[in-house]
């Protein structure tokens, strides 16, 4: 039986019925989610609103959903020197793209092997992967490994390599791949396809929604990360976006806690105002908020195995 006979078709129908009753319940559910969405979005609107509020008003009368006194000051301040910001965007995008592509490949590859019930080393491999979610050597040995043995310090790879194989994503991916019917793989084997061919041609297309999901998660991890930059990047041209934001936030927090009784002078007025900090948060999260809905069409057209003919 040739592999092409394994019919793959678009998942046209879900579990829903076309009956009136189901339309009604669908509407109610929709309403429920609309209400929920509002609850979810209010805090975000608040962040955006703060970023557009005049700083003095903010300190005097607190936060409001609609800016009491509208001001573009925060954004104009950030965009005064757009070079640094754009550079940081560039780094973050580059890291996210490379990391997601390579990470997704390695994650699904590993997940595939441990999802294969006929793989002799499946259980031990699962434990080998899972064990790393529980135990870690701590920061210092990890730092020594990256900087002194792998020599990744101050390279873009230091921002990529550590997140390539997240055990949690491997396990979730395995969970998705568990559902791939063994018959499909067997039939591929009978056709004489190599394991790699089966993986690429048969298994990956079958798990597209899972790939998109895990791909999204990996990309978010890269996008949201400042920690690796903080540890491994001294070169100012390689600073990722979130690290810029983190530095501002943490410095304000640190100095306001530590400096008051020390006889050194730090000019606290030079720090970005609260509205500027929120503007940075908006700018840091913004692009992903746009990318996310775009990727969602892959969920909708998720492919699935209809039946195995033959």
């Amino acid at each position: 039986m040739p592999a092409s006979q394994v019919a793959i078709h678009k998942k046209a129908v879900k579990s829903s019925f076309e009956s009136k009753e189901s339309q009604w319940s669908s509407r109610i559910i929709n309403l429920f989610f609309c209400a929920l969405s509002i609850l979810f979005i209010i805090p975000l609107l608040l962040v955006i609103s703060i970023s557009f509020t005049d700083e003095k008003t903010l300190l005097q009368s607190g936060y409001h959903l609609i800016p009491e006194k509208f001001s573009l000051e925060a954004y104009s301040l950030i965009f005064k020197s757009p070079g640094v910001l754009l550079n940081a965007y560039g780094i973050t995008i580059l890291v996210t793209v490379i990391g997601t592509v390579v990470g997704l490949f390695l994650t699904s590859l590993t997940a595939y092997t441990i999802s294969r019930k006929d793989y002799r080393y499946r259980r031990i491999m699962t434990l080998y992967v899972f064990f790393t979610t529980l135990f870690s050597g701590g920061l210092v040995p990890f730092y020594i490994m990256i900087t002194q043995y792998l020599h990744l310090k101050d390279t873009i790879w230091a921002l990529i390599v550590p997140y390539l194989l997240n055990p949690f994503y491997i396990l979730v991916m395995k969970g998705f791949m568990d559902k791939t019917p063994m018959e499909v793989i067997e039939s591929g084997k009978i056709d004489g396809a190599s394991e790699w061919r089966i993986f690429f041609i048969i298994v990956l297309p079958l798990t597209l929604p899972a790939l998109v999901t895990i791909g999204l998660f990996i990309s978010f991890q890269y996008w949201n990360d400042w920690w690796l930059g903080l540890l491994f990047i001294d070169n100012q041209h390689l600073i990722p976006l979130q690290l810029m934001l983190y530095r501002v936030m943490s410095t304000i927090e640190y100095l306001s806690n530590n400096i008051s009784s020390v006889n050194v002078s730090v000019d606290m007025t030079q720090f970005p105002s609260l509205s500027a900090r929120m503007a940075m948060a908006v700018l840091a999260a913004g692009p992903m908020m746009i990318v996310f809905p775009m990727l969602q069409r892959f969920f909708v057209s998720g492919l699935t195995v209809g039946s195995v003919k033959g």
Partner: protein, 304 residues
């Protein structure tokens, strides 16, 4: 015997090669650095290094177990994690199933919105929560004022915080779990449902008999991973959301924040490694236990 094993190996060779990148990667990035765990039993001196430093036995664990707060923070950590595990699972699963019932057009909107909070760091979320709970200008107190109620000093009243913490955590993370379950739902073969429909099953039956059982492996994985982290807490959540207010420690202090505060002054990596190791060991035992139970019930769902 060895020869026998070699024969097995040869048969699994291709799959083994496929798992080789992960084996090498984990060896270098995770397993070799674990040698550093011996710092937990040493008085670490920079000039003597990991191997040269003096062994001190369990001395690095002392500070944690000698304080009477250890019990409270451990209790808080476990209870919060249990609440998160159960509530996230139930709510995310419900959301995912409900989302699967409505038209595709709307799913996009809802799922995006549910996911948005995930993009904000805890520090930023901390400001958002402050906007709601601030004593003077907070939304909640303004609303209470409209009803003629007295304003509440939220950051000084520990009793409200279990609820606040749980809501905040769910708000931020439920979209993430919903997405996982939703993707799991999508990969369920629709022929199952069609067959059930022919048999005259109603929707609830289908959820119970088809959806849940088919999602069980995924649920088990998420569950076991969470169990492994039951002694760890999300530092950002428990530090920035209560704003490190001293009035709230009885209900918001968890192992990670407690250790952070105790070691802020002394900054000893032997002591922090020691507590990390303790959390790992307990987590590992919990995971073994959970996996064992799952295996008893249905060995197919066990992780190993």
């Amino acid at each position: 015997m060895l020869k026998n094993e070699w024969r097995h190996f040869k048969r699994n060779r291709d799959l083994f090669v496929m798992s080789l990148p992960a084996i090498v990667y984990k060896l270098f990035l995770n397993y070799l650095p674990m040698i550093g765990l011996i710092i937990a039993f040493k008085q670490y001196r920079y000039d003597l290094g990991v191997f040269g430093s003096e062994w001190v036995g369990l001395k690095n664990f002392e500070f944690f177990f000698s304080s009477d707060t250890a019990f409270i923070v451990t209790r808080n950590t476990i209870l919060y994690n249990l609440a998160f595990i159960v509530l996230t699972m139930v709510i995310a699963l419900t959301f995912a199933i409900l989302l699967n019932e409505i038209s595709r057009k709307w799913i996009k909107v809802h799922q995006t919105v549910l996911f948005l909070p995930y993009f904000l760091s805890w520090v930023v979320v901390g400001y958002v929560v402050l906007a709601f709970l601030d004593h003077k200008n907070g939304f909640l107190n303004v609303i209470l004022g409209m009803f003629g109620e007295e304003a509440i000093k939220w950051y000084e009243q520990a009793k409200y915080w279990p609820v606040i913490i749980i809501i905040t955590q769910l708000w931020k993370s439920v979209g993430f779990s919903t997405l996982i379950y939703y993707a799991g739902l999508l990969s369920i073969d629709s022929s199952y449902y069609e067959a059930a429909k022919i048999d005259g099953a109603n929707r609830w039956d289908m959820i119970r008999k088809i959806t849940i059982p088919l999602l069980t492996p995924l649920i088990v994985i998420l569950f076991i991973v969470d169990i492994g982290k039951i002694f760890r807490a999300d530092f950002g959540l428990f530090y920035f959301i209560p704003n490190d207010s001293s009035f709230l420690y009885s209900t918001t202090d968890v192992i990670d924040t407690y250790v952070y505060r105790s070691l802020r002054v002394v900054g000893d990596i032997g002591m922090s490694t020691a507590i990390g190791l303790y959390q790992s060991v307990v987590g590992f035992i919990m995971v073994l236990l959970a996996n064992w139970i799952v295996k008893k019930i249905n060995s197919d769902n066990a992780l190993w």
